[in-house]
């Protein structure tokens, strides 16, 4: 399932769309320590995190995740939004859901 379809089905807001929104989600990954994410997040995963800063977007690009899911109502800061748009990284908000229910919802709706 693509990022756009996932967000639509769950009623979640797509904060940054770009080409990244057409990517297929293959798995879900949860972590907030960027130095861990960098080496461990699987490519094509929906990365569930509370990190909405520019470095997180750079790490998403490097790890080649399908999208960033901001959980717990975490905000995407202005600099991060610019970076995400620039690199076509899709960013979705799980509308205040905590990390576990966010990850579970993505997994269920994508049939993972």
């Amino acid at each position: 399932m693509t990022v756009t379809e996932m967000a639509e089905k769950l009623g979640w807001e797509v904060l940054v769309e770009g080409e990244g929104a057409c990517r297929e989600i293959q798995t879900v990954y949860c972590c907030d320590l960027l130095s861990f994410v960098m080496g461990r997040a699987p490519a094509d995963s929906a990365w569930v995190t509370v990190m909405g800063n520019a470095n997180a977007m750079a790490v998403a690009l490097l790890a080649d995740v399908a999208c960033v899911v901001l959980a717990e109502g975490a905000a995407l800061d202005a600099e991060a939004a610019v970076k995400a748009k620039q690199h076509q990284i899709a960013v979705v908000s799980s509308q205040g859901l905590a990390v576990y229910p966010s990850a579970k919802a993505v997994a269920e709706v994508c049939g993972l």
Partner: protein, 259 residues
Amino acid sequence: MSQKPEWTQALFSQALDTRKDSPPGQVYYDLHIHSCLSPCGDNDMTVNNILNMCLLKGLDLIALTDHNSCKNCPALLSAASEAPITVLPGMELTTSEEVHVVCLFPALPQAMAFDQYVHDHLPKIQNVPHIFGEQWILDSEDEPVGQEELLLLNASTISISHLPALMGEFEGICWPAHIDRSSYSLLSNLGGIPPECGFRGLEVACPETFFAEGRHEELKRDYTILTNSDAHDLGKLSEREHWLPLSSPDFRGLAELLG
């Protein structure tokens, strides 16, 4: 003093003139500044641009604190050797908890020894300049002499609880950076101030908001609060606005307060 260009002499005179009316012991500072060595630092943040801008601002005491590296400190200290400003070598360390801590040192030998120690405790992940930004090492004339190859944005494997011992070993002082930010900060990542760290100073990026309506009064009471620019571009460097009561405008004075 060697012969300096006329504009440099004018800049030095202006810097001295700016501070002539300030009471002694009132030291205006900016102790958290990034150069073009930090991947997120603007390429205009060369050592001479930083130095000259800080002289224009009339600052007394500054420190260069790139992410996990001191490798532009030799160039800045050399460029500033005759300037009427004190420049301290330092680093903004990323601990294993992804907390940013500003570490300052009395002189280059201690700073560069710490630089090597931190370099040895960074994950062996190479920088990707088009994603994270370039990491330029300069000489004292602002000429690039190389790029740091390891990604400096990463967390080191050094825990925050290990810092008191490390500062003892490298003769440095440290404080948690921008504790009021939502990322890379002590309060956001750890939820409080670990007493075993023995911090005496805290950096607050926006004291007007953080201390508004009597909030966090206990921190103001128990710690020295610093507000630095954390500048990544020239426009963000501090004005002559924040000062500390120091017995001398140098590392020794600062260490009495924060060490």
